[in-house]
């Protein structure tokens, strides 16, 4: 099973979009646009650091450390709604815990690639947001959530975020 999750398959993991656009919208609504931009910047720098540590731990075959770093990555990604990165990190944690280092290496490569993609998407988001004349949603955001639900709908009523292969790197 783990082998089918590795590599550069564009459907990996199947059905999971890059971002949970609804969550980002909620954060912006509940706090502020400026805050969301700060939060995104923090996420990117924090995860970049964690990725380095995680890569080292996987390379050194340190099961406990690698699993803990992969687990922590999921928490950060979940908070911001970075869904696919979270899913890949979860898969990596499972592979590490099973001492399946072949799958771990492949999934780590996928994680690095996914993070690069997330960075691009979120960078575009930040740049557009910083522009005073920019529309409320960046192009990348619209790509992540092709059909935004009505503001009045409860989270359970909202459509699940769709994968947007067009935005894949």
């Amino acid at each position: 099973m783990s082998a089918s999750w590795g590599g550069n398959s564009k459907s990996f993991p199947p059905g999971v979009p890059t971002l949970n656009q609804h969550r980002l919208d909620m954060i912006e609504r509940d706090v502020s646009r400026e805050f969301l931009i700060e939060l995104v910047a923090l996420f990117v720098s924090d995860v970049a650091l964690r990725m380095e540590r995680l890569s080292d731990a996987v390379k050194l075959r340190e099961t406990a450390k690698a699993a803990a770093f992969a687990h922590a990555l999921q928490g950060a990604a979940a908070s911001l709604g970075v869904l696919r990165l979270r899913a890949v990190a979860q898969r990596l944690e499972e592979a590490v815990e099973n001492d399946d280092w072949g799958a771990s290496d492949a999934t780590l490569a996928r994680l690095v690639s996914e993070f690069a993609h997330v960075r691009t998407v979120l960078k575009t988001f930040g740049e557009k947001s910083a522009d005073a004349g920019a529309p409320r949603k960046s192009e990348s955001q619209r790509a992540a959530a092709p059909s935004s639900p009505p503001a009045s709908a409860s989270p359970s009523e909202r459509p699940t975020e769709r994968p947007s292969d067009s935005e894949r790197p």
């Binding site: 609504r29 706090v31 646009r33 939060l39 923090l42 924090d46 922590a72 928490g75 979940a78 908070s79």
Partner: protein
């Protein structure tokens, strides 16, 4: 940096209360989650003290929190260590644990270890704020009860009754007025409200404390034996009277006599009692000698004694002798704020007898107790706690451990029935429709502890309608606060 909500949503349940300055400790090692959680809490008016590790918690010297949110997956250190440490510092601190979806078993273990609530990641803002708000309310209630208990610790009811809410403080004040004198006190209250306990407190607190306290339940003694029990009998006074026996009056000489359920006394005994109270002497059944007695009389009844007089079942002259200073004991449903303290008291009492390991009640179980009508009052509560302890398999009594009638009482339908209770006042009282509406709203707010959303639901109207009616009826935020208090 403090971030305020761009558009506070009035319909949002998390914004039902005004912003507070309550301090929330946030223990989270992930920077993104910490920043987001902090912003949500601050946007709701909380002051946040954040820690990124167990060590930071131990070394921290920030303001004392009234609620803590603890991530159970704190790097290499277990969140359980943080929970233990926080609990050592403040045994009443409500702790909300945050855990990954896959670690629900861990969350259950944390709940068993005394956590107040648990949230799964990614944390939902509304769920977080609701949980924190409830935890704050619970903490404030516990603190208030403790403060008031310390106030009561020096009053005449100290060590006698449990509870420190407004009703019990008023009772304490009333008792304080009568302990030193011999004034005839009549304790009025439903069955199970603690009338005998208060009578004993009056005896112990007054100058007759060195004398005997004797209690007689008039309802438990057949009419034919009431005279003999109260006034004694001489040997041979009737068949079976093989020796002279002292009655309650003589046994209580120099002390206090409690005439419990005095409304059940037979007319013949009422006549003899009246003469005894007038003359301060008793004559044993079958005797001819008048024996002086110096007794303080305290009577108690669950009946409307004035109504019994009007109905011709109780002598009016005796009524005026006995009811010089009536004291109304509050029913349990009118002092639900004392339920947590009573539960703790009964659990401690049972622990001595049964060595059970139950530490407390879950929030849901406590809510169910607060909603119950308690026709049997404190006695019924003690019975319920005893049964629940026997049913409980863990350290905390949950909703499922409560008797079925209490579980069903926790449904919204039961709340609707309670809103209708005693709204119409006395039988011969006619209230205006405006007053009736005001009473219904006040009652619903009291039952829901000020939650406008839930009160509106109980009343069968929308939240906006209730806000409008509150404004039209001039019910301010302060008034709502007083109603809840």
């Amino acid at each position: 940096m403090t971030h305020h909500p761009t558009t506070p949503d009035a319909a949002d349940p998390a914004f039902e209360i005004l912003p507070t300055t309550d301090v929330v400790a946030l223990v989270e090692d992930d920077a993104t989650t910490r920043m987001l959680t902090r912003a949500w809490l601050e946007s709701a008016g909380y002051t946040v003290v954040e820690y990124d590790s167990e060590r930071a918690v131990r070394e921290g010297n920030g303001p004392a929190p009234i609620v803590a949110c603890v991530d159970l997956g704190l790097g290499e250190h277990s969140g359980f260590d943080v929970i233990s440490y926080l609990r050592e510092r403040d045994s009443e601190l409500p702790i909300i644990v945050v855990t990954a979806e896959r670690e629900v078993d861990t969350a259950v273990a944390a709940m068993r270890a005394g956590a107040y609530d648990y949230l799964t990641k990614p944390v939902d803002r509304d769920r977080l704020l609701l949980s924190v708000r409830r935890a704050c309310e619970r903490r404030r209630l516990v603190d208030r009860v403790k403060n008031l208990q310390s106030e009561l610790a020096t009053g005449p009811l100290a060590g006698t009754v449990v509870g420190a809410g407004p009703a019990m403080r008023e009772l304490s004040r009333q008792v304080e007025r009568v302990v030193e004198s011999d004034v005839a006190v009549c304790l009025l209250g439903e069955s199970g409200t603690g009338k005998e306990l208060v009578a004993r407190a009056i005896h112990r607190g007054g100058p007759r404390r060195s004398g005997q306290f004797v209690a007689i339940n008039c309802a438990a003694i057949p009419a034919s034996l009431q005279e003999s029990e109260l006034f004694g009998h001489e040997r041979g006074a009737f068949t079976g009277a093989i020796q002279t026996r002292l009655g309650c009056f003589e046994r209580a000489r120099g002390g206090t006599l409690l005439l419990d359920e005095v409304g059940e006394m037979s007319p013949a005994t009422q006549a003899v009692l009246l003469r005894t109270l007038q003359e301060h002497t008793v004559r044993r059944v079958g005797g001819s000698q008048e024996i002086p007695v110096d007794v303080r009389i305290v009577c108690a009844t669950h009946r409307d004694l004035r109504g019994e007089v009007d109905a011709g079942r109780f002598r009016e002259d005796l009524y005026f002798r006995l009811v010089v200073y009536p004291i109304q004991l509050p029913s349990l449903r009118n002092r639900v704020e004392d339920i947590p303290a009573l539960v703790t008291h009964f659990l401690d009492k049972l622990r001595v007898r049964t060595a059970h390991g139950v530490r407390g009640l879950s929030a849901e179980a406590l809510d169910a107790l607060a909603r119950h009508a308690w026709p049997g009052n404190v006695r019924e509560l003690e019975n319920v706690i005893h049964r629940s302890v026997l049913a409980c398999r863990g350290q905390e009594i949950g909703l499922a451990d409560l008797p079925s009638d209490l579980r069903s009482a926790s449904s919204p339908g039961a709340g609707e029935r309670q809103v209708g209770d005693d709204l119409l006042g006395d039988e011969d009282e006619v209230v205006t429709l405006r007053e009736l509406e005001q009473r219904a709203i006040r009652k619903a707010l009291k039952l829901t502890r000020g939650s406008v959303g839930r009160a509106a639901k109980l009343l069968g109207i929308g939240r906006a309608t209730l806000y409008r009616r509150l404004a039209e009826l001039d019910v301010s935020q302060e008034t709502v606060g007083r109603i809840v208090a």
